[in-house]
């Protein structure tokens, strides 16, 4: 009969913690090597000289009127590319979303969906996933080689990628909202398009529009990035200036870009608040 010993005061979680710490370090080491992570290179004399010169050029930013006019024009082109791309994306996304949503399924009204409509819906969804997953930069690279440098490549790249994104989210919004109205219309013999317009659109319109406006704001950012591969707009100008080490021009364009993004952010937030 031994007296009950007090519980051992070794931290039971200690072994586990040591194990995970070692495992993390074991993963970190090769990651550092693979990414050539050498922060000391940033402060080597040559690098410092180049950085210093480049960063020094940033101030003062180039504010010469001719250049500012160019930047303003490129800004407009960036917004135009994004808007045109979104418009095309809508043209593609809306039919696909309507085709893919199970809320408008006539065969599912009494019970389970039939095989063929189900397969068709899954196929459209797979198409949406593929469109979403390929980065828009890749589309832009392909289109630049097909139609040449310029805004067309950017518009098409945004159209395809965003049609996938919009299509998927529209589909989800339609499926999560109440289907009673649409189903009633379908049961009474209305066409699917009618059921959508009168039964689903009124309740989902706010959410759909809100998401579309948010994506338009993202598209503006994308379109600036696509410019780096030749799709025109502010990005292409920035790329040109960077290649020529014109720090003051880059500084102006960065500031203008941040302003543009901020404005679009604000406009989108205001619009979504009023609608939603």
């Amino acid at each position: 009969m031994s007296a009950t010993a007090p519980p051992a005061l070794r931290d039971p979680a200690w072994t586990g913690r040591v194990f995970w710490m070692l495992a993390a370090l074991a993963l970190l080491a090769p990651a550092l090597v693979a990414t050539e992570f050498k922060p000391w290179l940033l402060v080597e004399p040559d690098a410092l000289k180049a950085t210093g010169r480049f960063a020094g050029d940033f101030l003062p930013p180039k504010l010469e009127p001719g250049f500012l006019w160019l930047v303003a024009r490129e800004c407009w082109r960036t917004v135009a590319i994004a808007t045109a791309g979104m418009a095309l994306a809508l043209v593609l996304a809306i039919p696909m979303a309507l085709a893919a949503t199970s809320a408008l399924s006539v065969s599912a009204l009494p019970g389970r969906m039939h095989a063929l409509p189900f397969a068709v819906r899954q196929l459209v969804r797979a198409l949406l996933i593929v469109l979403r997953s390929v980065p828009e930069l890749v589309w832009a690279l392909v289109f630049v080689r097909v139609v040449g440098l310029g805004p067309t490549a950017g518009v098409l790249a945004i159209a395809l990628t965003y049609s996938g994104m919009l299509g998927k989210v529209y589909c989800e919004i339609l499926e999560s909202d109440d289907r009673a109205a649409a189903h009633t219309l379908l049961r009474n013999g209305a066409g699917r398009l009618q059921a959508f317009c009168y039964g689903m659109l009124p309740q989902s319109a706010a959410e759909l529009t809100s998401y579309t406006v948010y994506r338009w704001e993202c598209a503006i950012r994308s379109s600036a990035v696509l410019g780096f591969v030749g799709a025109g707009g502010l990005g292409q100008q920035m790329d040109n200036s960077m290649k020529m080490f014109q720090g003051s021009e880059v500084a102006t364009m960065l500031l203008v870009f941040m302003l543009l993004v901020g404005l679009a952010d604000g406009a989108s937030a205001w619009l979504r608040r009023r609608i939603g």
């Binding site: 993963l27 090769p30 990651a31 693979a34 990414t35 050539e36 992570f37 290179l41 940033l42 690098a47 180049a50 950085t51 480049f54 407009w76 082109r77 917004v79 135009a80 590319i81 808007t83 045109a84 418009a87 997953s133 390929v134 980065p135 930069l137 890749v138 690279l141 392909v142 080689r145 097909v146 139609v147 040449g148 805004p151 067309t152 518009v155 109440d178 009124p202 309740q203 319109a205 706010a206 529009t209 950012r221 600036a224 990035v225 780096f228 591969v229 990005g235 920035m238 790329d239 960077m242 080490f245 880059v250 960065l254 870009f257 941040m258 993004v261 901020g262 619009l271 009023r274 609608i275």
Partner: protein, 264 residues
């Protein structure tokens, strides 16, 4: 059922949307879009050939080895970039958050401004800028991801800190514990699962971004892609695209599983 048709406030919103439609029309008109070029027979033929070649990826061993190395590089870039962003984001989030009413939080606005600046510059632009300092290759890509993501995560972390339940911190503050101790003993334990969840979501985004950063010289699969596409090697391009999609799916799965574990 949302009441979307009534109210004078909605009139302004719909007016704006009409303006948006006008903007769309103006966009199409002002850009000199090469519809003719896109829809021409020549373009159609080229697209057709591209698509056909894209459906026939190459499996040549030497190339697959290069692909594996580039893939590992991209994965490492995304992971390391996200990790650095978590540390930097947390470091910036602490001054950017007002932890309790009555705290002066002098650094709040400057830090929030810095976070917004970091966020608004896309990863690709950061990469292009950093190549001047860090040279071509994955180092610039990692730093670019880290800088952009720290802006995003910093803001999310600051919001999490501000929304953390105040009870534990209140009791310790009443005992006179300093803000650093309060952070580690009262705030961080409550928000850590949320922070990790945000970080994992951003990792999913960053693997996609890392894959394409190489196009401006940021290393990894992107650099390989840009090289082969420039030479119209569509079969290699196809393999690279498949590798990209595979990597994205892998990270999405890893992130999902990790988040499931966190919720236990």
């Amino acid at each position: 059922m949302r009441d979307w048709k009534s109210g004078p406030s909605h009139a302004a919103a719909w007016g704006f949307l009409a303006a948006l439609a006008a903007l769309t029309a103006a966009s199409f008109w002002s850009l000199d879009l090469q519809w003719a070029k896109f829809l021409s027979a020549d373009a159609a033929r080229r697209m057709g050939r591209f698509l056909l070649e894209l459906l026939a990826p190459t499996a040549e061993p030497a190339f697959l080895r290069k692909l594996a190395v580039a893939g590992a590089e991209t994965l490492a870039m995304s992971a390391l970039g996200t990790l650095l962003a978590v540390l930097a984001g947390l470091a910036l989030a602490v001054p950017a958050a007002r932890t309790h009413a009555g705290e002066r939080a002098l650094w709040r606005w400057p830090t929030r401004l810095a976070l917004n600046g970091l966020r608004s510059i896309p990863e690709l632009v950061w990469a292009a800028l950093l190549i001047v300092a860090a040279g071509l290759g994955p180092f610039a890509g990692t730093l670019a991801l880290a800088l952009h993501t720290s802006g995003v995560l910093g803001r999310l972390f600051a919001e999490a800190i501000e929304n953390a339940p105040p009870g534990p911190a209140f009791a310790l503050r009443a005992q006179g514990a300093g803000s650093a101790k309060l952070f580690f003993y009262a705030t961080l334990p409550q928000i850590l699962p949320q922070l990790l969840s945000y970080a994992l979501y951003r990792w999913e985004n960053n693997i996609r971004a890392a894959a394409v950063l190489g196009v401006v010289g940021g290393g990894g699969l992107g650099q390989l892609l840009s090289f082969h596409m420039g030479l119209f090697h569509m079969r290699e391009t196809s393999s690279i695209l498949i590798a990209m999609l595979f990597l994205v799916a892998l990270v999405d799965l890893a992130s999902y599983l990790a988040r499931r574990v966190l919720q236990r």
